[in-house]
């Protein structure tokens, strides 16, 4: 169970983020997160559901690079994503075209860190709004499940492993004694743990017809 977080009230409210802030629970890492803008939060959600990602560092500290002792480059990507194979990615979420000046600094930084640089804009993040909503829904189901006393995770994963390929509707019907949010949470956790794969890109992203495949 995730213990309640003490955010620090008014004294700590503006220390990290002067403007708005969005706070949420990362149910898969069992931690609390806060991020500057809804756009970055949506991109974080998309990255969080990548099975090959092991850790996401929100707003790594501003890094300074002194080029040949003269020119100083400051760079701060939005996310520092570490994949399970050890490689890193710098994600830069741009809210406005004017912010593209941040790209060059992050390019230099990514070369020094030997990390890939991923630049995303509003259009990139919100191209599939339904997918965003579905991932957000799965995240909330998993958050809700943290305090659930009767979790169907083991039963659902065993069922998926036995069937091999099935749909979300099949899984919900097979465990009808649980509510569908608990089943969806179990599937989301299994997807991130590598026990199964949810094929979000087929049809309506996540509904009864979405295909689930057990991972061999």
């Amino acid at each position: 169970m995730l213990p309640p977080k003490k955010w620090g009230g008014r004294a700590k409210r503006f220390t990290d983020y002067k403007l708005g802030v969005r706070r949420s629970v990362d149910p898969f890492a069992e931690s609390h997160e806060q991020i500057r803008s809804p756009l970055e939060d949506e991109h974080w959600t998309v990255q969080r559901f990548r099975p090959d990602v092991s850790a996401i560092f929100i707003y790594p500290p501003v890094m300074q690079i002194v080029m040949a002792g003269k020119r100083t480059i400051r760079a701060q990507p939005s996310l520092l994503v570490t994949r399970k194979d050890g490689n890193q990615e710098l994600h830069l979420v741009l809210r406005y075209p004017e912010h593209e000046s941040r790209i060059s600094g992050c390019q230099t930084l990514s070369r020094h860190l030997r990390a890939a640089l991923v630049v995303v804009t509003v259009q990139d993040v919100r191209r599939n709004k339904q997918l965003l909503r579905d991932l957000d829904y799965l995240q909330r189901c998993a958050t809700r499940q943290l305090d659930d006393l009767e979790r169907p995770d083991a039963a659902v994963l065993a069922h998926v492993a036995e069937r091999g390929v099935l749909t979300v509707g099949d899984a919900r019907r097979a465990h009808s004694k649980f509510d569908k949010e608990s089943i969806d949470a179990a599937l989301a956790v299994g997807h991130l743990e590598g026990a199964l794969t949810i094929h979000f890109n087929e049809g309506q992203f996540y509904d009864d017809r979405t295909v689930i495949c057990a991972t061999k």
Partner: protein
Amino acid sequence: MTTEPSSARPSKPFSTTILERFEEQGITGFEQVPDHQEELEGKDQERFERLKDSLLAVFARKSEKAICDAANLSRRQLERLFNNVLEDAGSDGQIRGLSAFVNRSAKKTQAVEGEARAARTFIAEICPQHLRDVAVWTPYDCSGLSPAKKTRFDALVAATETLFAGGTPEQVANKAGVSWGQYKRLFKSAMKIERGTRQIRGLKAFASHESQEKRVRTAPDRPGSSSMGLFGKLLRDYPIAQKMTEWLKSQKRPNKIKPKTLRSKFKEIIHSETGSVKVPADAYPHTKKYAVRRPLQVWYEQEFIPMNSRRYVQMEMGESAGKVLGFAEGDGQTYLLPEAYDTWQIDEYTADVFLRFVMPSIFGGWDEIDLPRLAVIVVRECALGAVLAWRLVLSKQASAEDISLVMRDAVMGQAKARRVIEGLDYNEGAGYPAVIFDLLRWKAPRLVMLDNALSHLADTVHNIVLRVFSAKFDLGQSATPKTRAAVESEVMQMALSFVQQLPFTSGRDPKDPVRSSSQRPTGKVDVPRFQHGLDCYLANRNGVAREAPGQISVLERTRRVIESNQLGAVIPILGHKRKPHFFSMPVERPVKYNMDARKPRSPHINFDSVRYSNLKVLDKNNVKGLWLRIYPNYDNLQTVEAYRLDNTYLGTLVAEKKWAMSPHDSRTRKLYLHYKALGELEDNAADPPLRALYLCLSKKAHNDKAAAAALAHVVYYLERTLDPARRRQLEAEVITERIDEAAANADSIDALLAAAETFDDDDEGDESDQDAPPIVAEGAPPSLRNVVPFGPKPPYAASAAPQAEPSHASTTAGRVPPSVKTEDEDDDDDFDFDMQATFRIPTSI
């Protein structure tokens, strides 16, 4: 001592090892190995022949030395090359054969792969993902181009399509008709932001002489040369612009900047002897005295002001003008459009009305106390515009506990206010969504948007949103109400249409004419009447046709949305988290006890300066070092729910004797502790704390509006929890599930009451406790959490037939189950609480 024989087997001959691999591929003779067809020259031919001879030696099963000498290579190199011979050629299952001995082909393949990789890297570095299609680039009308330029334009477009399709630099250059380096320059130009727009330059970059970078002077100033571009060069060579910007944005500058002021500061900077700005005396601008006037003003108008527009407006036109401009810029946060019932906004509003509270007087009759302007909390849904819940706080400021109670109202259903105005009720079809639609009851939103009010920043509110609702929440940027326009407009509409239409309104601001004492009638609005009116107004808002839901009422639109299965992403709250105790911030407390014979203290925890215990739950033999997670019910602190730190349920703990006698909420407890700390309570250890608080507040209420509001809160809370008429009304409106739950727990309530008698400050009952009936078994269902085990014996208890706890969220937990005891049973009860006796006239007044 014996030596074991070596277990290492003798290695196979080299030729045998290689031939086994060939035989696995079905090749038993040299003639079956595919030959190389192309002619070779020079060293390639010589190398090829040597390797061919070595392979022949392998098939002739010659020695390793002979094979290596034939090829003039080592064994390892030869093994690698022979493996290459057996590699799949990629067509018809053929192996590469002798072609693997050709050095040139491998190099060529590597080169092609390297070039393709270089092209992919170039695209990844320069071109964002969403621009990797020429069709989405900024278009350009090429009809005005000459035939030669048009041909070049088309070739470059075709080359770009080839590049995006995975072409190599050589292919791209061939298509484009320019070198790869030149093409890269043109591509970079196409990716640049066009001046004066927010779009990339796009296809315009491929039209010859149509786009040109701003020309930059690089030549130094010489005697007799033009001053064209020298000012820009000066700003690039020295950090003058940064220093000017710092000064222009600082408080040291004058409010109005005139050209002369600007020039004076500029001169001061370039003449400074210290710092990084040391312009030589024989260089520009010292050499051209008047050449700096115009470009300096242009820099100020065209670069400084657009980049620092808000600061400029603040300084030149005033702070308020800067704030207005800040609103126009937005807060830089865009949102996905909310869906039905998945996004909430919460806000408070200080009611613009003079209120009074009428209460029974200790002198007989009644007293009227004037209240300060009170806070109203409103919860609104964003997509359709429904008001989900509201709450009048009898205080100047809402607290985090008030927010938690109103959030529970929103998911459970807002109960009707007490009906005090005859004939006033909801219109037909009006009400609150969670009351009318079962599907919306106990459904949590996806997102809760709040401002930075002190109560919203409390961990209590955060915990409820994150853990009970499993939702996210946004704390908006300060002073940007536009991001929460839904609730702000609802509050403004409520103020204009209802509150400021009341006869005793205080008006919108101090300059409002109704604020003038000569303009307004003397008198005040009763709190119950205000609550009744406000309740009907907000419920009716949900029932009248409005523009936001499409010229029909919000509730009708909700019905249609539900029937068409288009409700937003609302998820049900877990069953055990619907209890009032879970709408709180859990706190961790150690279990304390003292076995000293002179002053024994049974196991207990301290919460809000009050001891809570339950001897059947906290066994004195098994509590050493035990920490508990406590969930208080903010609307009734008689009991708290205790969990172990591993989230297993322990049981219900009951407050110490004097606090367990009557229901009280967290605000009452805080008021008591506040005035006790000030030394203004005239009580002793045996007095009921509510009586002491009442007497203290009664003395101060006529001079102190904060105390008046506190007194009104205490009395109103007791009224709504104890008043028989109020109870009957609530019982008639009760939600079915709550009735069932309370009825099912009736037996448990009796058990709790019986157990409470055993809990004493002096810990007398250690022995007798062992015979008492069990209260709440470990691991028992959390259904007991919703009931109130202790309370005063109301005079109407014998006549109050219903067994249930009513539905009003803000009042349920504080209400006493009416049939907990009969009067006969309570004759000897030490905890009997008589309101009349508690509020008897003190002799000191």
